[in-house]
Symmetry: C2
Subunit: 710 residues, 2 copies
């Protein structure tokens, strides 16, 4: 009886979340969309974004369909609820397949909703800036919260409904895998799209023709604006959706299979068992409440300083989460034995540790990328020595910036483990992602104000309004740095939890398969080796994709300028559809190989070297992926801000050689920070889920020991 009640709670929380999203959508849509020219530009952006989503979803449909059919023939993981003790031969795995499709559709829906509102909010935010900074901020921020709340809502509704129907974590695993497949496409595709357009626009427009940012004469301007939406709203949203669901499923699987935890729960009376099972869901609910309060705090503080408001919102949500989690724990321990109460408090501690670790990660990302801190300042100064030195400086600071968050994650792991063992680590991941609503909202705010600035520029709203929009935009950039640190940390802890859940799952199916993951065994060592190499390969492919596509974009822009000199004079409009087409098709073509890699490599490792090696593969990928993700995000962010700082008039300002060198840094950093770096998170989640989903299949090869047994 207990289970349905929890599920109802989660379902209600999810529905509230979606309802709030719809309410914010209404608030945004009722605003004035501005003058005709602004609406025209916004219309182009909207159309470009929709075209992209349409083509993207079509290809995704094929990808999901193929994987769904493959899943159908996997050994079914279901037998009895909460257990996963043997493979049911013969039966088609249709429940998990349906969950997979629902997960994919849910993620697509959340992405669509967030982006649909985003592309409506931009012109309204620009118009809002003509009234007041606060008005502009409110519109943009509410536009962003739609994505944030949609993510939380769809996740909670999906997980709870599916689990209600088939009470087995394996069903949620299917849902999570669906969400991840979509996230991989959205994040890689969006990342390639946005940087194809951005780099292309910069290389020709800024560097060759000295056009300012967002100049309407630049044929890639609209594609650039579309890119912000598809990369940062839809992409980041689906990335965190994916991590959010994955953190829940990791905790669920561990709760169902981890011997120590299962024993603990089995010893309890019905009420205690209810409390412990409901706890992760309570944390998600508490996180939602904290996020909603955070959103109101941001709205209320927004008037003074938008950048501070966003960060204050995040910090206050965190503190609220800690307080509310403690409050709910205090209520829930009533009726538990002393020992059980201590255990629950410990788990509450794990969640809080996770969230604080996330904040620390965001904070270090902020330090390493802020223009008023030493690293970025040094990088700007390095630009005085020329193009090469600014690259070397960014490269080394980027690598250096890996150390503090690594220490932060290690501390979080140690404390969470000391409090709650492996299950504690999983709960820390859930805690870190509890305020995902706030995080995604802040992140989606960024592209909306970035677009608003462009629309203000193209809609001739005048310098004052553009400056206001600029002000809002720079707040978005700061928030973005923190969000990224957070997203990487959350993905890291989540995939670690997934790796542990993968191992316990393997032991549950076939006891002893992964008793240990011993690096002194050759299979395991090779697994770890391949794992460490994969994020490097993945980064290489994505950076190459951007570079290749941007070259096509450059050719197209040059062609337009050469064939029609009137474009450059501003007498005729550039052909935006062609550039949008290049970005759309290119990004989709280029994500095929990385996507296939992320599914095929883990399965191949499992088949050849066995599931223990596959576990080590995941560990290798997680650790090396962490290094690459942080390095690329932070170096990219810092180059960007160093350039902006120079553009603010420092070290000679715009047009100088120093500025040109800083543009080189920024251009190199673009695919680092917006394509490869953040895509690694999704890669890791997809690979981890692939391992779990295909576990039954891998058991067919020498009982999970792999074909190459040494």
């Amino acid at each position: 009886m207990a289970v349905p009640i929890i599920l109802i709670v989660a379902l209600i929380a999810g529905i509230i979340s979606i309802a709030m999203a719809m309410y914010f959508r209404y608030l945004v849509l009722k605003e004035d969309p501005g003058n005709e020219r602004m609406q025209e530009v916004a219309g182009y952006i909207e159309e470009g974004a929709k075209t992209y989503l349409k083509v993207q979803y079509k290809i995704l449909g094929i990808f999901v369909a193929v994987l769904a059919v493959a899943m159908l023939f996997l050994p079914s993981p279901f037998e009895e609820s909460y257990t996963y003790t043997r493979l049911v031969a013969g039966a088609l795995n249709w429940e998990q397949m349906v969950a997979y499709i629902i997960g994919a559709i849910g993620s697509m829906f959340a992405g669509w909703l967030g982006m649909y509102v985003g592309v409506k909010a931009n012109t309204r935010a620009a118009q809002g800036c003509t009234v007041s900074t606060k008005k502009g901020f409110d519109i943009a921020f509410f536009g962003g919260t739609v994505m944030g709340l949609a993510v939380v809502g769809v996740a909670l509704i999906g997980v709870s409904t599916l689990y209600w129907i088939v009470p087995d974590p394996m069903i949620v695993l299917g849902f999570s895998f669906g969400a991840s497949s979509v996230a991989l496409f959205m994040k890689c595709g969006g990342g390639i799209y946005t940087k194809t357009a951005d780099v292309g626009a910069d290389l020709v427009g800024k560097a060759e023709y000295d056009l300012p940012e967002d100049d309407p004469r630049n044929p890639a301007t609209i594609a650039d604006n579309v890119g912000d939406n598809v990369g940062d709203i839809a992409g980041m949203g689906s990335d965190l959706f994916d991590s959010y669901v994955a953190s829940i499923i990791a905790a669920m699987i561990l709760a169902a299979t981890l011997p120590s935890f299962v024993d603990l729960v089995l010893e309890m009376d019905e009420y205690a068992r209810f409390v412990f099972t409901v706890f992760p869901v309570v944390l998600c609910g508490v996180g939602l409440i904290a996020s909603l309060l955070g959103i109101y705090i941001i709205k209320w503080k927004g008037s003074d300083d938008p950048g501070k408001a966003l960060n204050t919102g995040t910090y206050l949500s965190t503190i609220l989460f800690a307080g509310l989690a403690a409050l709910f724990t205090l209520i829930m321990v009533v009726g538990l034995t002393g020992e059980q109460a201590i255990m629950l408090w410990k788990l509450c501690g794990c969640a809080v540790i996770g969230l604080f670790a996330g904040i620390v990660l965001g904070f270090t990302s902020d330090y390493f990328t802020r223009a008023d801190r030493k690293p970025t300042r040094k990088m700007a100064e390095a630009a005085q020595e020329g193009h090469a030195v600014v690259i070397l400086s960014g490269f080394s600071y980027g690598l250096l910036s890996v150390v503090p968050p690594a220490i932060g994650i290690i501390f979080a792991m140690i404390f969470a483990y000391l409090l709650g063992g492996v299950f504690g680590v999983a709960i820390a991941a859930v805690g870190m992602l509890a305020i995902v609503g706030t995080i995604v909202s802040n992140d989606a705010y960024g592209p909306i104000v970035d677009n608003a600035r462009a629309i203000a520029e193209q809609g001739d709203l005048g310098d004052d309004i553009i400056r206001t929009a600029d002000h809002l935009d720079s707040a978005g950039n700061t928030a973005k740095a923190i969000t990224k640190g957070f997203a990487i940390g959350a993905a890291n802890l989540t995939v670690l939890a997934l790796m542990f859940s993968f191992a316990t799952e393997a032991n549950d199916i076939n006891p002893g398969t992964i008793d240990v993951m011993d690096l002194l065994t050759l299979n395991v060592l090779i697994g770890a080796f391949i794992g460490v190499v994969v994020p490097a390969l993945f980064s290489a492919l994505l950076v190459m994709a951007v570079q290749r596509n941007a070259a096509k974009m450059v050719d197209e822009i040059r062609r337009q300028f050469e064939e029609n000199p009137k474009i450059l004079k501003g007498e005729e409009a550039a052909d935006f559809s062609r550039t949008i087409d290049i970005a759309t098709k290119g990004s989709l073509r280029e994500l095929i190989i990385p996507s296939i890699i992320s599914i095929v490599i883990p399965i191949t490792v499992g088949i050849l070297f066995g599931v223990a090696a596959l576990g080590a593969f995941l560990v290798g990928a997680i650790l090396s992926g962490f290094v690459f993700a942080i390095f690329m995000s932070n170096s990219g962010g810092a180059w960007d801000n160093a350039k902006k700082w120079i553009e603010d008039g420092n070290l000679g300002g715009k047009g100088t050689d120093v500025h040109k060198a800083s543009i080189t840094g920024d251009t190199v950093g673009d695919p680092f920070k917006d394509t490869a770096g953040p895509s690694i998170n999704t890669l890791l989640v997809v690979m981890s889920l692939t391992a779990s989903i295909f576990l039954g299949f891998l058991m067919l090869f020498s009982g999970g020991a792999g074909l190459l047994v040494f």
Copy 2:
């Protein structure tokens, strides 16, 4: 009785090697050193190199003395020969300390000898070019072989003599640690030195004043030439010396402690036991013979095409090694039982596999860095799109180039393991390093001809001679790419073998300490995490060091040009001593922190998280270090060659924007390929040896489980 005979063989081989080195030294020194101006320039270079070595060895002396004293108080690893079963409390560890000091002195001697001849050979090679290409080639090549043979000679003499006196692998471990300490300083210091001078000279001389390469007016020219010697002769020599000795010691420790192998050997009669113990030394001897034959082949082929001659020499040495190893095995199996004979053949197979894997690695490095292959060609084309795109292209190809050698190493590991288990992997490392004489000779050839070219330029030998020297120089660059791939692969296999020997050693002291290295244990997972991060941190520090020092160099060059305009007109000589001083002091100051890190971090991990975590730390560092080393070496090499290809008149040639962009790539690549990338090898060896040396000490903390036991 058997042991002394083997040692005599090794000792004789070592003495022959040194004698040959002295003979080649004599051949070089008797040549004509050229005109007065050439001798003057060579004199500056020699003096600069000697100054550097003097200061370097002074600081090294302090470092070695401090570590030696620390070692004295470590728990003594000696008890009975061949075993290491308990810690003898109270006794000072003076044997190992003395071996350590001898190892350090041996490495310093080899470095000094190689460099002493190198700086004499450069001007003679330049003068030789006035006679014929062959003459120039011969002098430069013989100059290089002095370093190659000195490395082999000192290593064999040191290992055999010490082992004769104290027949325990632990004594050789001390010797190896001494060699590594020196290698770390020589490689990092030399790497920072050479790139400080090179980058500084390029940034001001080439980019600002359009001076050609090696222009005598550039105050950093001499420092640049000195840098080639200290980085590529002394640095690379000590790096491979270090790997060579480490591969021997890894095999020795495994032979003495690996239970399966110990059992195998103990079951044998005296003759069989002799054969198996002598086998690794026989491999080294065979390698020396193959190297010497290779050297004569290169000399004989050198007349046609120097580049081909060097590579043919390498390939033929490899084939000779395989043939000779088979021949010696054929002789040695006489008198063994069938089973023993099969085992010996298998070990012979491991050695050959190792060497072929090394060649494959060199080959892929060559592919990824050659101007006539796709990656470098694409990078040169990317330079047409500007500075940023050439960086992105190099970055992605560099990361991509990690995949083929990783597959190569994995295959080598699998085959070696299938043939000989963990011991087979260690023998594969020995095999890979068997022809180290040839490898180091080819590598040391590079800086000699590079210097010869500079001396020809400054000694006004005319365009024809400079072209001949250029021809020799480009052969050096190709050989260098192969050498680097080889060095990284060899270090990688060696440190893997060291990691295994570390684990068996730990179990030998305290059975069960590292029965498994289980990634599902938090300690081990954290160890691996820290390990993966360390190469990133180390790379960041080294790149930053070069960047910081190069900035000082730039300031000094600008100051000289501004204060004394006659320098630029060629009327007065630049002040070379100041730039040499900056490079010398800067490189030594900057290597302190990386050196301390490489000793302190492994010990700290061991103290806090235990020896199993330390093992995982080593694995993490080895795998991530492999990625960073290959990535940095190959991207740097390719950028360099892309620039050279453009300078040959392609895509517009010198002076164009494309050329400028390619210079940016080259400048970024300089510290990648010559400082950070190759230093990672040494870092890995030092960390692995530190772990083994301090193992007894680490056992004092919760019996090896570490202070933080979860």
